[in-house]
Amino acid sequence: MKQLLIKLGNVDRRWIFILIGLSVLIPLLKPDWIRMPVKTTTNTEIVFNEISNLEENDKVLISFEYGASTKPEIHPMAIALLNQLFSKGIKVYIISLWPEGVIMAKDVVTQVEKSGVFDLEDGLNYVMFDYKVGGEIVIKNIASDFRGIYMQDINKKFIQDIPMMEGIESVEDFDFVFDLSAGVPGNAEWVQYACDPKNVPLSSGCTSIMVTDAIPYVESGQLRGILAGMPGAAEYENLVYNFMINQNNNKYILDDGKIYPGKATSRMSAQSLAHVVMVIFIVFGNISYYLKRKRKD
């Protein structure tokens, strides 16, 4: 037994790659084999409640700061967020501070439009802007002079010709800011340069790797909850899905539209199984290391 455990410590790393690969692949191929319950955490609930408290025709600024590399974690959050906002008749303003953010934003809006759940019109229900380089400098400018940065929307239409842009001069004219981020600029920059100084409520959906750095802002109330990585996305998706299917006579949800649960929930089984495999490897690796050290002594 001891020999076997010591041998396990010397296993070729490619076997570990294969096992991790299989632990991800099998739940994706056979989702019915492994079903993991999704339990909502406080931070996700705070985000959902904050958005729920917004009123019809309120204005929400969403900043897309992620790209293809972090799409699996943040894209489901963005889709669920737009679903919740549109089902409450909230006006959505989309900006991108990452070069790929525009592509992500367009894809999210297209998916929500294609679902046929809402009757959406560009410039009436939402407006999208081009990517702007500069990160925190752009955020600082949005905080004081939105029109100094954005004069046209993504379709090159002047903002004075877009009715929903009326009265938008700075970040203070928005009722809520939501940041979807995977790095810098991200939620920290929104806290520091715009929402803290101007006292505008802010929430964020971010990658798992950013969570530990963002939690102090959540604890201090500078961020109103946080969607933390894929589990956060799955929890939020469930809340939004349950909210939408229980809406009777909601004038914003079309009768013939089909409401689907999002993708993050189905990915959680793969995530959980991969974690179990990794924990097993860590435990065996440590036992093997301990035995080897003992033998040397």
């Binding site: 070069p99 802002y217 201090s220 990585g229 894929m230 990915r267």
Partner: protein, 254 residues
């Protein structure tokens, strides 16, 4: 059977090829990985350059300097000559005789960023965080206990980074406690990082599964088989070449 090809399908095949090329690094460094790496860097640089010019420089800078030529909704603002010149200074880094001019632009960027960061950091990351580290005794017992733990963690963590006094005796014990708090933080960060990476792997696998259907002309299985054959042949040829090299060395030694 005739295979259908349109831009969506070609895109799917490219996605599969690039994803599997990057994954092939797990086997070892190879031509697929190297090609994908170079293509990724080249395409990213080109995309960022184009999007930055057309979405930012053209409307926001040239639109203010030449409003009659670039109709971006702005009026003539001569003060924008300053960033225009600073931008040109940056490009002059490519001209050896004038490369020193770039230092002026860099100095401006660094100075401005430091100044901006100084204020916002003090406000959001120091003052507000100090405020939120204080214990609110009006909360529930669990909240108070939680806040006490946070406060102990903050103070002991700070003591660990206080190097003006030797870490011995009480200071040493407190700084050791700080190390434990830091380790918990790093452990949590590492756990979240691993979780993030697995999420990305799930995303890639999900797309590979979608593209393995007949709708995309079985892109994933076909590309995988081709890559395995090429990598197998490449590995076999590599082994043979190193064997020949060994034989030649042995011959020479004799």
């Amino acid at each position: 059977m005739f295979l259908n090809f349109n831009f969506d399908i070609i895109g799917a095949w490219l996605v599969v090829l690039m994803t599997l090329s990057i994954f092939s690094y797990l086997y070892g460094d190879n031509i697929f990985y190297k090609s994908a790496e170079h293509i990724f860097i080249g395409v990213s640089a080109g995309y960022v350059f184009a999007i930055t010019f057309w979405d930012q420089i053209y409307p926001n800078l040239l639109g203010r300097l030449f409003p009659s030529y670039v109709n971006a909704g702005y009026e003539l603002e001569l003060s924008y000559i300053v960033p225009f010149i600073l931008g040109i200074f940056m490009i002059l880094r490519l001209v050896p005789n004038l490369s020193w001019l770039a230092r002026i632009s860099i100095a401006y960027i660094v100075g401005m960023a430091a100044g901006l960061k100084f204020y916002v950091f003090i406000n959001s990351n120091i003052l507000t965080q100090i405020k939120s580290s204080a214990i609110d005794f009006n909360g529930s017992t669990l909240d108070v206990i939680n806040q006490i733990i946070v406060l102990i963690g903050v103070l002991s963590g700070l003591v660990y980074f206080f190097f003006s006094k030797e870490h011995k005796g009480t200071i040493g014990k407190i700084s050791k406690l700080g190390v434990y708090f830091l380790m918990i933080k790093f452990g949590a960060s590492f756990g979240f990082a691993v979780m993030g990476r697995i999420s990305l792997l799930i995303g890639r696998f999900e797309e590979l599964l979608i593209y393995s259907s007949s709708e995309f002309n079985y892109a994933t299985p076909i590309v995988s088989i081709i890559m395995i054959i090429v990598l197998g042949y490449w590995s076999f040829r590599d082994n043979k070449a190193s064997e020949n090299e060994d034989n030649a060395t042995n011959e020479l030694t004799r």
